[in-house]
Symmetry: C2
Subunit: 292 residues, 2 copies
């Protein structure tokens, strides 16, 4: 499968220009009048009338603002300022999130997603987890160092396994209680220290649904900026179909037929399934599965 | 490919028993006389004469010790105590690391790796990154909460892309200056916020070697406990072969022929290549490539 080029939040035009980060003189030189500052309201983007990300000049950031170097576009330094507070809320808890982000081009969506994860991380890491003293931004915003114990801290990306579980042509999908009615999606969970992707898939599916799986394989992946996950999309076959739902995580789970998923994908809202938003990897995994 | 069952640091016998973590009564009941405590000296395991992990009773941990619930084996609660200090050193900087760990069975190695990552994370996260106040262990050691601002903190797993880059039957391998002479391995780098695995592979290879790649695909993965990475092994084809080495990261990089890699894999130490240790996913990726 190659959904990499079509997956939402991938495909930014930014050149991350890693070598610039560790070069203070080069970085300072990029903070010139052609540099651009991503306009944010809190962690949400400010859009122009065509639905593109708005960029201002660096003057718009306060004098004491922490500036993160996102990378280069057409040779210009592109920056974002760290907001006062971060936000670990999941996407569904953010008002109008898809109405706003749905206006962005794929490249803008990816640029925004990466910037959001990064500035949010800074806002939530102003202190050293090792000793409790203040940290200071360095390497153009790709690192924070403790001002006291010299511990180094790096932006975080949390790998998450998300999986289509199949049994005789049906897929196991589940919903959380705070989602819109009839919205179902793929099971998912954080990969823990000391486990492979395959082990995480098997553990999460069993914990949440009581289903045992085999033949886990990788299908596709996606960065997800609420706040900073790497979604690792997999497919697996179920060994059993009786469901024992973990109701602390899920409200319901069901086996859905190919016809039900196909109808929901085609926009039919009369069934028992409404698709996840198309920006979610779960949607792309289901599309891939139907096309197989 | 299915190296999941043979990859080092995967395949623990532990049942992580996720439901126990959030159940204080159940967790307390497991801290009984049949509970076992992983014996560690700092972050290294203590082995018995057969090269198995040593486990003691919970009494061996001090009264104030922070105990992490690793999971269940044969119904017994398996625990580890958080050491005074953590350690982010890479494996090559740990004295005798493969001599010690090479004695462990695959299941013990996986149990140890997960435990090491987890207790190390606790030792380095005793304070809240958001506000600087002390954090307290909760959920059996799968979470820390700030005692002041209520921020929740979770054990960290850092996804890393590691990739075989191929051109006309040769592989691009590189070495760092502090490695043993003639040891080469696959290029690798941390996946950053806002990028897909494929984008991270392309960026890292270009940054470190000047080579542009296409057709990135996932091959295998491995948890790596120095301190807590998820190694995501990929294969890609090179578009060009001239090397521009980033000497801040690498000492040398070369294209190696199939014959050179095959000879090194067979134990021939007369060539210009010595293999990475077999516990490393780079070794397994090269083995997979030769067997293709």
């Amino acid at each position: 499968m190659n959904v990499a080029t079509t997956i939402a939040f991938g495909g930014s035009r930014l050149d991350r220009a890693d070598h610039v980060r560790a070069d203070p003189a080069r970085l300072a030189a990029l903070k010139n009048s052609s540099a651009r500052l991503l306009r944010l309201e809190g962690l949400m983007p400010v859009l122009d009338e065509d639905g593109a990300l708005q960029w201002g000049s660096l003057d718009e950031a306060g004098e004491d603002a922490e500036l993160v170097f996102l990378g280069l576009i057409d040779g210009r330094g592109m920056f974002a300022a760290v907001p006062d507070v971060g936000d670990t809320a999941p996407a569904y808890a953010i008002r109008n999130v898809w109405q706003v982000l749905g206006q962005l081009s794929p490249a803008d969506l990816a640029t925004y997603g990466g910037a959001r994860s990064l500035v949010d991380w800074h806002a939530r890491h102003r202190f050293c987890a090792r000793c409790g003293n203040p940290t200071a931004i360095t390497k153009g915003g790709w690192q924070r160092n403790c001002t006291r114990c010299d511990a180094q801290h790096f932006p975080r990306v949390d790998p998450v396994a998300i999986m289509l579980v199949e049994h005789e042509g049906k897929l196991l999908l589940a919903r959380q209680s705070h989602w819109p009615p009839r919205r179902y999606s793929a099971l998912a969970g954080f990969i823990e220290p000391g486990e492979t992707i395959e082990e995480a898939v098997a553990r999460e599916v069993f914990e949440e649904s009581g289903v045992q799986v085999r033949d886990v394989r990788f299908v596709a992946n996606q960065p997800w900026p609420f706040p900073s996950q790497l979604m690792i999309g997999c497919h697996a076959y179920a060994e059993n179909t009786d469901l024992v739902i973990d109701t602390t995580e899920l409200e319901e789970a069901h086996w859905f037929t190919r016809d039900e998923i196909s109808a929901a994908m085609a926009g039919d809202e009369s069934g028992r399934l409404l698709m996840p938003p198309s920006v979610a990897i779960a949607y792309q995994l289901m599309k891939w599965w139907l096309e197989q």
